[in-house]
């Protein structure tokens, strides 16, 4: 995987399909960004605005860890990067206006003085952090707000749909948003969609001690970003229909799927389900055209990459002998499980815990089956995660945690992360 350019790999469920019948096939479109971002040592300029919740509930360990994480962030920045921070409770204060990350000691001393108090003006905190970021846009780099909170928005704008829409609007204007939810009191139904709409990442910090690690992952992701404003167009040939896209990505006005940002060394798997017409043995069909478009991080130029999905027809007997592609099976399993998590959450919200639990049990069986066919570290990890969820929902000891885990795991699976 030593490619310099992003390319698409197409995996068909099976090498050939049975002739003489209409059928549904799974096609995996793997987007493979370069293994390393651009020239060695070069990374996009970062312009990071932290919006840190300092409401009363953050008191103690959470605040201590948040401070450590923010300081870690400062340490990792280069003098050419920019840093700003706002802190919010019921009010919003600008702790650091946007400035080059040069005087790190001063920045860190300021962070050390933050203490918890008051209620949660989450929306305004986010807006103000965005304003700080907007003061010194990186130009070809990454301009991002990191919203860190453990609570629910309860002062100012509190409507989830409005805030999510605003995060989308802001991302379209060049500033992305990542959200970091700490503990169990925050609203994942705000923070996860907000980060998705905001073209950033959603992180769930179960334990305050995970904070620094999460920051590390977020920053590594930023540094590795090779493409933004990523969309995938799927054009089926005449007679072929797109039945489903298992990642459940939203589409833009022209029907293209909106994908997460591309990161060096992290392929993104998109699973498209196509309905194809009957064909003759020996015939081939160009089932669909896939067109990836994004803005290259280094050059800020648009890039287009295309690939075709081709199907070859064979006798039913010959096709029955063929093995299902391992990559396709794994991806289908992970994405189906992501959907199942959403369904289980919906049952939980209605108070139908038995139904939620039975869905999770089915997920466990399906994942075990997939692992038997094509063992991989990915599936092993998934088995672990699903086992944890089953345990959590069975003893009902912590429904908030269960729901949050499901929400975030679903988000990560959809984005191959």
């Amino acid at each position: 995987m030593d490619n310099k350019e992003t390319y698409l790999q197409i995996f068909m469920e099976k090498e050939r399909v049975a002739a003489n019948k209409e059928q549904t096939i799974d096609v995996l479109v793997r987007i493979v960004p370069p293994a390393e971002s651009a020239e060695s040592g070069e990374r996009p300029k970062l312009n990071i605005g932290i919006a840190l919740d300092r409401s009363g509930s953050m008191d103690g360990n959470k605040m201590r860890q948040a401070r450590e994480a923010a300081k870690y962030c400062v340490d990792e920045l280069l003098p050419t990067d920019a840093f700003s921070a706002v802190i919010f409770d019921g009010n919003v204060d600008v702790l650091f206006t946007n400035q080059p990350a040069t005087n790190k000691e001063m920045l860190k001393r300021g962070i050390d003085r933050i203490e918890a108090r008051g209620s949660t003006a989450l929306h305004q905190g986010w807006v103000q952090a965005g304003l700080q970021v907007s003061e010194r846009l990186s130009g070809g780099g990454i301009d991002r707000v990191l919203l860190i909170t453990d609570g629910q928005a309860n002062v100012g704008e509190t409507r989830t749909d409005r805030i999510v829409q605003q995060a989308k609007d802001l991302a379209e204007r060049g500033i992305s948003t990542s959200t970091i939810g700490i503990g169990q009191g925050f609203n994942e139904d705000l923070l996860v969609p907000m980060a998705e709409a905001g073209q950033g990442n959603a992180w769930f910090v179960e334990e305050p001690r995970d904070m620094v690690r999460i920051f590390e992952t977020e920053l590594k992701g930023l540094v590795a970003q090779v493409g933004n404003t990523v969309t995938l167009g799927v054009t089926p040939s005449p007679g072929v229909k797109v039945e489903d896209l298992l990642n459940d990505f939203e589409t833009d006005a022209s029907g293209r799927y909106i994908l997460p940002n591309l990161r060096a060394g992290s392929p993104l798997d998109v699973l498209v389900r196509l309905k194809i017409p009957a064909g003759e043995v020996g015939e081939t069909l160009l089932a669909a055209n896939f067109e990836l478009r994004y803005t290259d991080q280094a050059t800020q130029k648009p890039v287009t990459v295309t690939a075709m999905g081709e199907v070859a027809y064979d006798t039913a007997a010959a096709v029955a002998e063929l093995r299902t592609n391992d990559q396709v099976l794994t991806t289908v399993t992970l994405l189906t499980n992501a959907r199942a998590r959403k369904e289980a959450m919906e049952y939980m919200d209605e108070g139908e815990f038995d139904d939620a639990a039975s869905i999770l049990r089915m997920v466990a069986f399906a994942t075990d089956d997939a692992f038997d066919v094509t063992p991989s570290a990915e599936l092993e990890q998934e088995i672990e995660a699903v086992r944890d969820l089953n345990r959590l929902i069975a003893d009902r000891s912590n429904d908030m945690l269960t729901r949050k885990r499901m929400s975030y795991e679903r988000d990560l699976r959809r984005k191959s992360r």
Binding site: T97, H123, Q124, V127, G130, L131, V133, S134, E135, L137, S138, G139, G140, D143, N154, V155, G156, E157, T158, Q166, D169, L170, R173, G174, I175
Partner: protein, 238 residues
């Protein structure tokens, strides 16, 4: 235009907000708008604070209590910054252009037509056409200077969008609706018995506290008019 400025020579502005309004008032009265559509047409409190931190604008002349007092030179500098921004000059270049300029020089900069060139040849051609080689009326930028790192539209769009959210927010209650005082009690009528209402024109009333005595100072009166104008304007824009 410079004559118009003379009337403002001795004005004081109490706080960033007033300074912003006065600048806006002035720019509106002379009908200036940004051509490029990439920079906000009028300065607001935030941009003024930003200019101060960036060193484009001087700190307030003095502090009275918690209020910062600004004067004519602040207003003038602000007007010049806006004018240069309208020509598409990046802040870093504007900073250099206005650094160390006297009041007279700033007035001149504000009053005169300014031409911006990114190419030395173009500048020479222009100079030849007007028959002199004086530098004072022309700005030559190297191509790096005029190309801000970020596409300007993207940068300012983000900022303007966020500022519009703040504006929207100030229309809304600070707290959840449940905590909002009953809407029947308008803000100005607190302690109703102490206030007098005057209808200035249909639709606009002035409420004056009974014990209030307006200072004779013309400066002060001008400020009140600017404030009222600002309120009416900001309502229009919503």
């Amino acid at each position: 235009m410079v004559q118009l400025l003379q009337t403002l020579k001795h004005m004081e502005y109490h706080g960033v907000r007033e300074l912003a309004r006065a600048a806006e008032h002035f720019l509106r009265s002379i009908g200036t708008t940004q051509e490029k559509g990439t920079v906000a047409d009028y300065p607001n409190e935030r941009t003024i604070r930003y200019y101060i931190t960036e060193g484009l604008l001087d700190q307030a002349i003095e502090k009275r209590g918690v209020t910062s007092i600004f004067g004519y030179e602040h207003l003038l500098t602000l007007l010049v910054i806006k004018k240069l921004q309208a020509l598409g000059l990046p802040i870093s270049v504007i900073k250099d252009l206005i650094a160390g300029k006297s009041e007279d020089e700033l007035e001149k900069l504000f009053g005169e037509e300014i031409h911006v060139f990114t190419d030395k040849k173009e500048l020479d051609v222009f100079r030849a056409s007007i028959g002199h080689t004086d530098d004072s009326d022309a700005v030559l930028l190297d191509s790096e200077g005029i190309t801000p790192a970020a596409p300007p539209s993207a940068g300012n769009e983000a900022k303007e969008y966020l500022e519009s959210l703040l504006m929207e927010r100030s229309d809304r209650p600070e707290r959840l609706p449940a905590r909002r005082p009953p809407p029947a009690a308008p803000r100005l009528s607190r302690g109703t018995s102490d206030w007098r209402r005057y209808e200035i024109i249909p639709g606009v009333e002035l409420h004056v506290s009974r014990g209030f005595r307006a200072p004779k100072d013309l400066n002060w009166r001008q400020r009140v008019l600017v404030l009222i104008d600002g309120i009416l304007d900001s309502r229009e824009r919503r």
